[in-house]
Amino acid sequence: MEEINALFHGFSVALSPFNMMLMFIGVILGVIIGVLPGLGGANGIAILLPLTFTMPPTSAIIMLSCIYWGALFGGAITSILFNIPGEPWSVATTFDGYPMAQQGRAGEALTAAFTSSFIGALVAVVMITFLAPLIAKLALKFGSPEFFSVYFLTFCSFIGMGKGSAWKTLTAMMLGFALACVGMDNMTGQQRLNFGSMELVRGFDFLIAVIGLFGIGEILISMEEGLAFSGSSARIDPKIVIETWKKLPKYWMTSIRSCLVGCWMGITPGGATPASFMSYGIAKRMSPNGAKFGTGQIEGVIAPETAAHAAGTSALLPMLALGIPGSPTAAVLLGGLLIWGLQPGPLLFVEKKDFVWGLIASMYLGNIAGLIIVLTCVPLFAAILRIPFSIIAPVIIVICAIGAYTVHNAMFEVWLMLAFGVVGYVFKKLDYPMAPMVLALVLGKSAEDSFRNAIKGSQGDFSIFFANGLVGSIMTLGLVMLLWPLVNKLRGK
């Protein structure tokens, strides 16, 4: 019951007029970001982060997380109307969403997508409300070895659940860690790996990496594909909404399954994208209409959208409770917390109750606001996509440059952003995953600190990582994840 009281207190924080206004601005900005190619949840928030420095942290996080909800909603619009996934997690939505739009059922597809997104998010938020405080309470007892074991599990999961080459995942991830090491050594104050450069003493800021890899890199990829938007237009009239809502309860099984897949994939850092594919795949196998998937089945829209939103939302759980984000976007939000002087992790639930519960309450409200906005403003957002790429591309690059500059007020970072853009382009084409790289860059220093503190405490004895049941079982789970690709390969032979 404690949680319910805290949550109501949170609502009183989130419901101030100023915060409500930010919520709507956030969702609208988010949908625009989600609709535009080259701007996504992670880099959109990274670019807008400097604008929030002057706001109180609670208002700032409410706006930024609402941008995230908006971006999650926005991806569906382009997928269904234009067959162009605005975000990687909405690729699976194109499979049945676009055929539906071609049959003139765009309104129905959009309503189904938005409603299932909302349900997915809602389930995830309810889970966060009750689970996050418990995990945080447990984590208060964590020492350095326990924290390191959680980091270890997080990163091993990327290898265990990754699709492509495990070696490439490992390389990309370690590259993130290596870049995180550049600059000042937290524990000794020594400068390291900066090769005499004063600019590099600041280290590689992950915000720059996010803007470059996801922003500039995405623009280069879109340019190569020679994007020409042509799509159905849509208006959602209330009658279609009601009719679609009447149909949706029939698919309750699909919804529940997709929510479970999404929540699981969000907490363990699988992320929204694999969650949406997995959920689509499962729905296809389990549904009586499975064979017709891909021709415009409403279930084919419900499944990936529910899972993507559930995963995107529950990725915030480990970020809040442990200080370990489950997705690049959650990582950017975590970066924001650090900039505002808040240390994410279990202590946040004790020391900054207003902040945590204000944020959780805003997740409920933000998703409701999001649903209302997207249902009513679809034609407006679809019109944005009709702006030719030769206008959008330079504007996005200008925005990215501003975002990169404001991180440290330094030109060096703008050049770095361009370099990361090229890296992002090449990595994307060669299937080097960028999410683990960005997470490693964010968490590198903390992971190193917890590792060094742990083995310092044990005088270099590695058995500290198996010293008690908790740390031992997390480490073992991590090792299983790490060796999973190898096991799979051996089984395949």
Partner: protein, 175 residues
Amino acid sequence: MNSEQKPKAGDRPVVKNRTMEIVVAGLLLLLGLTFGVASYHLGAGWSDDGPESGYFPFYINLIIVIASAATLAQAIRSKTPRPREAFVSKGQLRQVMAVLIPAAVYVLGLQWFGIYLASAVYVTVFMVWLGKYSWGKSIALGVTISVAVYFMFEKWFQVSLHKGSWFDPLSLIGL
């Protein structure tokens, strides 16, 4: 994504996937070696107050070396995905460079003349050159965007942006 936009018949590949895999894995291997050696010199051992500064990065870079060597070996034996297909075709490369080179020139301009002039010129030229818009329309949009950015950052959010290291065009109009 767009099926109509597949490379045309005469569109020759500039570089194949296999070559690019080898180059990238090789570069990562070199990077891992450089960082690894630097960490070793920093001290990758044990001191009185625990592991030294280079300890963690040394092992991290050791893993980079091993993992990228594995990818390199796979790439050489053509075991990486789609080795014979084009990494990028001539037409695609031209498109990518059409964005990348102006972007680099823009950042240089940004450094010298500040964000406002550089952005207005960049948006204008990009629209005229790649979008085939009229000069009038392009200049109007370029200037509008710069003015909007000025008000949003310098006025409302009070975030000061780069003013140009050679010369600040804003000083001409007394801002």
